[in-house]
């Protein structure tokens, strides 16, 4: 990630701003003038880490939504560059377009070749216009599908990185079959004869996220979210009030620990204190460790069993009641 990127602060991060700036100044002065301010630096660091701990130990679901969308949060390409030794991005859906909202390619991870697919948000307005804010069109899903098929063919595991507000809701997407593109990816992933490891690294926006998100293991970073609808959308439909986003975020149970409890994800991947954007290198390191563990486990399972286990995993999802008043079997 770019070090010169301007640090932005969410309202609840504000108490950290002054301290982080002061700390940066102290460290700069030490480097430039060899000032003997080490004691002062340590004291400030302690204060900073204590304040960070306090703020981040009691985040509300809505605050986590904001963190998942944090303008400084590492994106798919940041993790790809940090974690994989080699990455060659490949392009095109072989039907008529290439979608910059989804990046896909071949990579090497600790000696293992694999297919990597991720939704990519932009860093600034210009980049976001190109990347469509990470909201894929049908061609993005088709490119993803094409590379998953390549993974199956070459016996390469597939890693997908999820970070999207949702599938692109514009006219072009509808004209080119958005629903069909997502549906066929789901079917394809359900039967894919190679391991699929899914990581939600930011926003898991509904069907648009799931379109590359059906896998053998689904991991989620600590401050990522995954939801059937955005809190804004839910608030306006069920509360008829945009101000109700905090209530909606709470009601939807969209945070990583809640989804772990509901059995929708398999593991919460911890983030550095203060969130992935405070220490992207550390976040990538922890994520790589989790990837390694799961890929190693998945590699030991036969392909037949893998597809069967994947089916059973999703077969079990859902909570309902079965009443026994009818004479049916």
């Amino acid at each position: 990630m770019n070090n010169t990127m301007e640090r932005k602060y969410l309202p609840f991060e504000k108490p950290l701003e002054a301290m982080e700036k002061e700390l940066a100044q102290l460290q700069a002065r030490k480097q430039e003038t060899f000032a003997d301010n080490q004691a002062e630096i340590v004291r400030l660091q302690q204060k900073l880490s204590e304040t960070t701990r306090q703020i981040f130990s009691s985040l509300t679901p809505w605050q986590k939504v904001q963190l998942a969308r944090h303008p400084n949060r590492p994106h798919a390409l940041d993790y790809i560059n940090a974690i994989f030794e080699e990455f060659i991005e490949l392009h095109g859906d072989r039907v008529g377009a290439d979608d910059p909202a989804i990046i896909a390619g071949l990579a090497k991870f600790e000696g293992t070749s694999l297919v990597v697919i991720g939704q990519q948000k932009g860093r600034d307005t210009k980049e976001n216009l190109t990347r469509k804010f990470g909201m894929a069109h049908p061609e993005g899903y088709r490119k993803a599908r094409r590379l998953m098929a390549l993974g199956e063919q070459l016996h390469l595991p597939v890693i997908t990185l999820i970070d999207t507000p949702g599938a692109n809701p514009d006219m072009a997407a509808e004209e080119r079959g958005q629903a069909l593109a997502i549906a066929s990816n789901l079917q394809h992933m359900a039967g894919l004869r190679t391991p699929i490891l899914v990581v939600v690294i930011g926003e898991g926006g509904s069907g648009g996220a799931l379109g590359i998100g059906l896998g053998d293991r689904v991991l989620m970073q600590e401050y990522a979210i995954y939801s059937v609808i955005s809190p804004e959308g839910c608030a306006s439909i069920l509360w008829k009030n945009q101000q109700a986003v905090e209530d909606a975020a709470r009601a939807l149970k969209l945070t990583a620990p809640e989804l772990l409890q509901l059995g929708i994800i398999d593991e919460v991947v911890p983030e550095p204190p203060g969130g992935a954007h405070r220490d992207p290198a550390k976040a990538a390191e922890v994520l790589a460790k989790a990837m390694r563990k799961h890929l190693t486990e998945l590699k030991t399972i036969s392909l037949e069993e893998l597809v069967e286990l994947r089916y059973q995993k999703y077969r079990k999802m859902g909570v309902f009641r079965e009443i026994s008043t009818t004479a049916e079997t």
């Binding site: 958005q178 789901l186 039967g191 059937v228 999703y314 909570v319 009641r321």
Partner: protein, 278 residues
Amino acid sequence: MIFRKRYARITPRETPEAKKELWVKCERCGRIVYEKKWKEMWKVCHYCGSYSRLTALERIELLTDPGTFQERWSNLISADPLEFVGARSYVDKLKEDMLKTGLKEALVTGEAKIGGFPVALAILDPHFIMGSMGSVVGEKFVRICELCLEKKWPLVSVSGGGGGARMYEGALSLMQMAKTSAAVERLHRNGLFYISVLTDPTMGGVAASFAFLGDIILAEPGALIGFAGPRVIEQTIRQKLPPGFQTSEFLYQRGMIDLIVERKDLKQTITRLLNIIH
């Protein structure tokens, strides 16, 4: 997620003593239709030809051989796994729609015969929480697919779902897309045949999972079919959508649908397909 009501809501099976329901007003053309004629035409206005939504029970009557439908798994009922508290509770919404529709859930599943051929049937009723996919919808769909695998029967599904997502069930609702798609994948791998009929409206997660995974996709004329709702698109692009956008005809022109079939011909068309592939 929520769409304009394009037609007057006609409550099925009015109490017989209240004989005032002799006339129905078509909301599209505004003309008054004699109720008997309305029913004969399966809720298609015989003046302007516009389609009104059928309930699951009417749909069964339309498609299956009389007396052959046997419902399965009607004993599956939604739980409230998120203990959803919003402007109103999930439990209240469920109760209200159960009363309104006489159904226990949005998806009605069972076995039946169509033109003499045994089939497994899954019908999504858009009147029950907009035909959205909760855990029960996903579970019943998977069970009907498993019945197909056991009996080697073809699957016929009829989709009418306003938004797909059932917000009250959060991400569990979202996962029903994965669950139902995985079940269709099993049908494919085992060489079974799946006909999907799209009716007004088939949107969101319903469209983006089992509805568009039919080996053959039929649609009723003029149905609203797509992923994002028209209002969401209009908000995104900040302009009005052209007329006919996201209709059956629009999708047919773009190669997304096999056939547009009039309601009165639907049973015959399905029978002809089953006759070739059985």
